[in-house]
Amino acid sequence: MACISPDGNLTTSGKAVLTAAKEGATPEDIAKSSNLPLFRIRSSLRELVSAGLIQEIQGKYKTTAEGLKKLGKE
C-alpha cells in the first residue's frame, strides 16, 4: 500500500497525509498542504480510514488518536 509499508511503518506520503489531517481537512486541503496530487490523497484516505488512522466526519478527514500515536512513534 502507498501509506503503510508491508512492515507496518508509515511511508513519507502516509506521514504527510496524517500530519495534514491533524486538525481535520478536506481532501483538497490535504492535497495542497502535503503537495501531493488529489488522486493520491483520495487513494491514501481510503487506505488510512480502512486502517483506523483517519476518520471521516461530514466530508472532512481527521487523524484519529491511533493515527496520532502512530505518527508520534515514527
Binding site: 502507498a2 496530487p37 488522486f39 493520491r40
Partner: protein, 216 residues
C-alpha cells in the same frame, strides 16, 4: 475469433463515461473516480524494459509539468507486474536521470486492457498497443489515440490535443488542422438557413458561411 469479438463489444466510445476501474499502481491502489475534477491521460505501453517504451516514458515525464499546469494527470499501464514497473522506473531514473512522477498500472490480469481495448491481437497477443485515452473532469472519454508497437508517440501532439479540448470546452469553438494555442479557432458551423445568413454578417473572418474563424 471469439476473443476478438468480445473485445470489440467492450471498446469504449468517445463522449461516453470512461469505464470504471480499481487498479494496483506504483503509487498505490487507485480508482478512476479518484481523478474526478481533473483531466486524466490513461496510456498503455507494450512492455517494461523495451526501447521505444523507455523513450516514451522519458517523453511523458518531460511533459508532466506542462500537463500539471493544465490540470491533467498521467497514468501508464502495461501487462507487467508492479515489481517490473518499480524496477524499470528506477532503471530509467538511474540511466536516463529522469524520475517517473506518475503512477503505472500493473494490469497482469488484463482487466483494464480488455475494458479499454488496448490489446490488438493483430499486433501482439501478449502486449498492449500504444493507446492514449483522454478523460475529462466529469469522467467522460474525450479522445483516443492508438499507435502500433513500432512507433513512439509524439508528446507535443498530446499536449496540443489537451490544449484543443480545453479551448473547445472554454470557448465553445472547434480547432482547425494543425491548430496551436494562440491561433484563430473555428466558429461552429450554423445548422439552419437562418443561422447561415446571419453568420456571414457577424463580423467573423469567414471563407464562406460554413467556415468562419475568430481569435480568442
Amino acid at each position: 475469433m471469439e476473443e476478438l469479438k468480445r473485445q470489440e463489444t467492450r471498446l469504449p466510445r468517445l463522449g461516453e463515461p470512461a469505464p470504471s476501474f480499481t487498479v494496483i499502481t506504483t503509487q498505490g491502489t487507485v480508482k478512476l473516480e479518484d481523478f474526478k475534477g481533473g483531466w486524466l491521460i490513461l496510456f498503455s505501453h507494450p512492455a517494461d524494459f523495451t526501447p521505444v517504451c523507455t523513450t516514451e516514458f522519458v517523453g511523458f515525464a518531460n511533459i508532466y509539468n506542462e500537463l500539471k499546469k493544465r490540470n491533467v494527470e498521467l497514468m501508464g499501464l502495461s501487462i507487467d507486474s508492479i515489481y517490473s514497473h518499480i524496477a524499470w522506473a528506477r532503471n530509467i531514473e538511474e540511466k536516463m536521470k529522469v524520475k517517473i512522477p506518475f503512477p503505472i498500472i500493473a494490469d497482469l490480469n488484463r482487466e483494464v486492457a480488455t475494458l479499454y481495448g488496448m490489446v490488438h491481437p493483430g499486433q501482439s497477443k501478449t502486449e498492449t498497443v500504444r493507446a492514449v485515452f483522454v478523460i475529462d473532469p466529469e469522467g467522460i472519454l474525450r479522445a483516443m489515440i492508438y499507435y502500433p508497437l513500432t512507433t513512439g508517440r509524439n508528446m507535443q501532439e498530446i499536449l496540443r490535443l489537451i490544449d484543443a479540448l480545453q479551448t473547445t470546452d472554454k470557448h465553445k469553438v472547434a480547432t482547425p488542422a494543425n491548430w496551436k494555442p494562440g491561433e484563430p479557432v473555428i466558429v461552429p458551423a450554423p445548422n439552419t438557413v437562418e443561422m447561415a445568413e446571419e453568420r456571414v454578417k457577424e463580423g467573423y473572418e469567414c471563407k464562406d458561411w460554413y467556415l468562419c474563424f475568430k481569435k480568442i
